[in-house]
Symmetry: D2
Subunit: 323 residues, 4 copies
Amino acid sequence: MNSFGRIFKIEIFGESHGQQVGVVVDGCPAGIPLCEDDFNEDIQRRRSGKIGTTPRIEADIPHIVSGVFNGKTCGTPITILFDNTNTKSGDYANLVAHPRPGHADFTGKEKYHGFNDPRGGGHFSGRITLGIVAAGVIAKKIIAPVQISAELVEVGGRTDIEDCIKETMQEKDSVGGVVTCVCKNVPVGLGEPFFDSVESCISHIIFAIPAVKSIEFGSGNAAARMKGSEHNDNIVSADGKTLTNNAGGINGGITNGNDIYFRLAVKPTASIGKSQDTFNFADNKVEPLTIAGRHDACIAVRVPVIVECATAIALADLYLINK
Amino acid sequence: MNSFGRIFKIEIFGESHGQQVGVVVDGCPAGIPLCEDDFNEDIQRRRSGKIGTTPRIEADIPHIVSGVFNGKTCGTPITILFDNTNTKSGDYANLVAHPRPGHADFTGKEKYHGFNDPRGGGHFSGRITLGIVAAGVIAKKIIAPVQISAELVEVGGRTDIEDCIKETMQEKDSVGGVVTCVCKNVPVGLGEPFFDSVESCISHIIFAIPAVKSIEFGSGNAAARMKGSEHNDNIVSADGKTLTNNAGGINGGITNGNDIYFRLAVKPTASIGKSQDTFNFADNKVEPLTIAGRHDACIAVRVPVIVECATAIALADLYLINK
Amino acid sequence: MNSFGRIFKIEIFGESHGQQVGVVVDGCPAGIPLCEDDFNEDIQRRRSGKIGTTPRIEADIPHIVSGVFNGKTCGTPITILFDNTNTKSGDYANLVAHPRPGHADFTGKEKYHGFNDPRGGGHFSGRITLGIVAAGVIAKKIIAPVQISAELVEVGGRTDIEDCIKETMQEKDSVGGVVTCVCKNVPVGLGEPFFDSVESCISHIIFAIPAVKSIEFGSGNAAARMKGSEHNDNIVSADGKTLTNNAGGINGGITNGNDIYFRLAVKPTASIGKSQDTFNFADNKVEPLTIAGRHDACIAVRVPVIVECATAIALADLYLINK
Amino acid sequence: MNSFGRIFKIEIFGESHGQQVGVVVDGCPAGIPLCEDDFNEDIQRRRSGKIGTTPRIEADIPHIVSGVFNGKTCGTPITILFDNTNTKSGDYANLVAHPRPGHADFTGKEKYHGFNDPRGGGHFSGRITLGIVAAGVIAKKIIAPVQISAELVEVGGRTDIEDCIKETMQEKDSVGGVVTCVCKNVPVGLGEPFFDSVESCISHIIFAIPAVKSIEFGSGNAAARMKGSEHNDNIVSADGKTLTNNAGGINGGITNGNDIYFRLAVKPTASIGKSQDTFNFADNKVEPLTIAGRHDACIAVRVPVIVECATAIALADLYLINK
């Protein structure tokens, strides 16, 4: 459902045009310094405003309403809320009958028998990832000194990223991108063989981020074309450091002390200004759809901080289990 | 840990050279016809014997010891056991001090503080996937008429798969491959937004399969190079069928009624006959290691049936939750 | 932790003198009519104001901030918040050093290494049960036509309940009570053998209610003094109705279609006006403690509605699993 | 379902007259000495043979088939199996049509739509508690130096227990009893406020034991008749020791370092030799039933060791979570 984790457990909630979105973080150890300012940096990174992002600008001010006392976590559930203020629900009225291709309009309506909130994508909105970012800020504190950095390395197959996005916007189109993530200072021994492998847990939460289409750990797809003698990472010291890192820091599902490394593909935003043919359930036939609304031309621009935070959540859970 | 699923819940256990490996399947509906012969086809597909697979041959006869009465499932936990008979534990004695690169020898020892069973890889052995296959055979019955087919489409970057493996074996090396998987007749509405997205659940269990390095859904990596106008799958009929399937059958984490499609990279088997330099903890220095033992030259050959079964397990759980 | 349920899953949060308390309800089916007024009746029953209850009066107005659209549940997480307004934190300052006997002051401090919020009992406050009541109101709608009624049948061993409480208040003391609960129109087949027996699930959540000391199902304690020929409930019709109901509506952990019946003992409120000797960690010796603050003389008065709501939550989860 | 625990997780399986019953213990730390002899004492205590117990005698030899290597736990799932050998299935054939009152014959048939194994009670048999005992033996090692002792203190309301059982057997009847349990050397801080309170977790698993009808912690039912000034346990030293123990060692759901104490009522065995009137679904009317088979006259005799083991399992899970 909308929860993740076994010990460090988060529950996210909200709709794009509802009153509030947020997260409850359960299982956070007591005594960790935490205040509302701590969220600023990552929330700013996630916000729109940069090139290629939606003109809907939200203040995104975090309200901590439980679980923190005198500037430290209590050990009890931490609830963080964000108000939705800048909503223009009129834009989305006709999308119920004429679902946007590539979006969850059709599946949302079917799954919830038409009772889902369709305004701004409702619960399927990328806005719900604010809760993931907020939880991730806390998770990062738990797993310190682990350091996680994700970055956008490619858009539309190009590395001149800004130019590519500008051209795309002129075409009233959208474009995908590639995000890489590296985790440094990871202790040996996180994760489990099989179902709670580090790859299982990270991929589980990474695919919770809307628009992610693939994930590759270490050598990734290239592994399929390699020989064992090339792929094997020879251990060169007693702490398990290896010469190469095709494993991406994980053997048998368990961290080996080298950097965790993975990369992922983000699809182009489904909402585009260009006209598209798709089924109109009111008229019962395929008809052109032009999406007004406000949307990102390249959602991949906003993804890196969410990837970092999601990864931190997965690692925090594995770290607390391992202890 | 070693369990997966919320309603259709499996628990796998065993070590490569222990007495038995197996699985408990909890949450299987009552009244499903099930007998030991039902496992034969998929167990045969998983067994070694084909080119590129280990000379260790096991009978792999399933023993159903609970949960089935008069040829039908009871609704209670189904336990299926397999004996380990063909074990040669002597081969692996020195690997504790001199861990194989690319293998879980080092991480297993660290995680379990040296108490893990090192014989044949112990609990990290691919042999434990027998339990996944057995559970998958049951899961396939639950989700019928969904049909899942996985196949090996590439080895070492080549499609003349047998030739590539033969050459690799002559070099005492191993090689990776690509497996694709398609699920047909999938109902609309399986999965959840965010953490229990279909991609999250499938990737979680797919990365439980040893040697998998990547997973791509639908357009996968190609999405990062596409425009929205190319990537969006236009809906062409009232049941949600789309003209293209870049989504891989999933929108907003939820099945849209089109085929689920994904592909994955399998790394070359870590155990190779070729000499490799790696750290010897007994001597506290890097030294050459030659692995005798018995192993697969291309583990990817045995992966497709495990992918099918793992996918069936994930879908059976989502299917029972959705009901 | 602070969550309950497998399919109908709730997460409660908040501190007595924090900003807000509340609950997230995940897994509620879509399309159930729900508005803020629906909570009034049960919230009023839970509120103080009646004889024997604390003079701290809170408005307890529910704010639904997610999961409801156009007066119906969306199928997505429902978040309900309540403001804390009438807080007088000064009263509780010295209780950190001089923990109240019978209260969680000592265990809370130890468990959370002194970082818990001590004001008004913090997260251990009965105020957090507001979230259980709110979730229970929703659960009752799911399990309709099941009807759950709990009532206070005894206080201080007496049935002239009001008089007993008045006398207790004059003594600046508190007093315990007995609450019974009956569930009517329960379908056959809820619950599981062993760990998810109906008794297991109900007792689990009932013991989440502060001050509950015991639970008895059906014949309860009396069963220990009975013969099988007296205790067995003879089945008298094809729908499983029995002549007696010593089973309390449950056989082998599974509902048998008769009324579920249980009773529980509620201890006297730990906070009393009378002076008590207890350990003062500041002075490192036993010293008299007189508790000012505001508290209930008989917390059992407020328990029945919480018992009903908690039971509804447990049954809603079992009901959705059973489907 | 048939699993319990979040970190120390067990899964039990089997039917009374199936091939094997057993348990998988997942999440047990590595390096704990464990061999098959370790189970003997508790298995002997659980076995029949004593007065009031069934004449069905099973060897109950534990087979550890995974998770133990060189006499120590590996950290991987431990599977323990027991053969069913002494089965006489003929006895139970007619009970499908004519369900035993007080037994799960009716609810089992309804829940599993007639597909459950009815022989010897199938999965509802007390025989399945062997898995709980086996897991408990391991749990006891984890929580050492915590010591758990349960004993039968009353049968049929009398303390001359053997005499009471003998008289009951002569009447071809059965009789209930009272079991008490005390846990010594419990650390402060196990358990959580609300849903994972120690009482919630212990009662959850205790009600998984067939025939348990009630549980009282500390003062239990007596609390309902007490004043706060009597009930409060005054703290008398800096380690939290209290003068009295009405709390039963738990405040706010969390252990306070004093003994955990609880008592429970066990109903009389449902199967009795005396004739009883109950519904015959074949004839569609109430008819006398006389149960041949083999059964316990006082199942309470066998319960104490199961209570100890179940409690150890709950505490081991809370202990590992708390770490």
